[in-house]
Symmetry: C2
Subunit: 143 residues, 2 copies
Amino acid sequence: MTDISAIETIRLLAHAVKKRLALQLEVEALGLVPMQVRLMKIIHRRSPCTALDIASFMQRDKAQITRLISGLLEQGLIEKHPNPKDKRSHFLLLTPEGDRIQESLSKLIGQAEQSMLEGIAKKDMQSFFTVTQKMLKNLEKDQ
Amino acid sequence: MTDISAIETIRLLAHAVKKRLALQLEVEALGLVPMQVRLMKIIHRRSPCTALDIASFMQRDKAQITRLISGLLEQGLIEKHPNPKDKRSHFLLLTPEGDRIQESLSKLIGQAEQSMLEGIAKKDMQSFFTVTQKMLKNLEKDQ
DNA sequence: TTTTAAAGGTTGACACTATCAACTATATTG
DNA sequence: CAATATAGTTGATAGTGTCAACCTTTAAAA
């Protein structure tokens, strides 16, 4: 079927990415689900980082993020630190073990990304990011 | 958080699209789930169309597609016709009611897509399709 | 200063999405 | 003709996702 819409293209691409990375994660057998890996990346990159920050960035329900965080806490991959400015909230940080796993998975995901981008010119990727940021902005406005 | 990866961009975009369309679908109150709407579009566009065709196009498990099809059959939106060449298989077609709903939803989704693409130059969209097709091809090769 | 409203996070409940395995009937291959 | 593969179905289960209600804390309003 040729000539599919932008929306359908985005869906197919996202699903292909998801399957590709789920396969890899299964191979690593770390007992993590894909969403947890994403959280670890966010916690790694952003400091300080709260559940609300994550929910906001990923545009997900707080309930879902709370559950994913619980799982990571149980596995000793992250820890909670009190937020000095707000007793309700806590800062999330990777433990040494969490950091090690995050690094390792990041390498693998980076490789998968490189593979996905093979043969695509840098300027085309720049255009891709410009376009997708605009799409996101438009979708945000629609809400 | 700036400078996110292509993979994370794709995920965020797909989720934003999903939420946007799920909201709209809820407003229409048709008793359909988002995946069923996608199936109806595929059945509308492709003739003949089998469960396998859909599973293949969407890269999903046959079991999932079978269940989605069941739901659409129950709601009288599609019907099965025997495949003269293969007794195991059947051709799927929209009923008049299904066609009407498909047309109606297509208009709405088209509008949502137009809204999402507002302010994006035609040549940039062409580049977007070129890039995403290449990404899909690369991901396929990886499997 | 007190009252009211909102917010950060949690828990219960439930729906949607998704895959794997095993199965039956049919088609294909050797 | 026998063996193998396939189209679709069903059972089972996991992952994703949201809504509502709640508690404690913070912020805003009176």
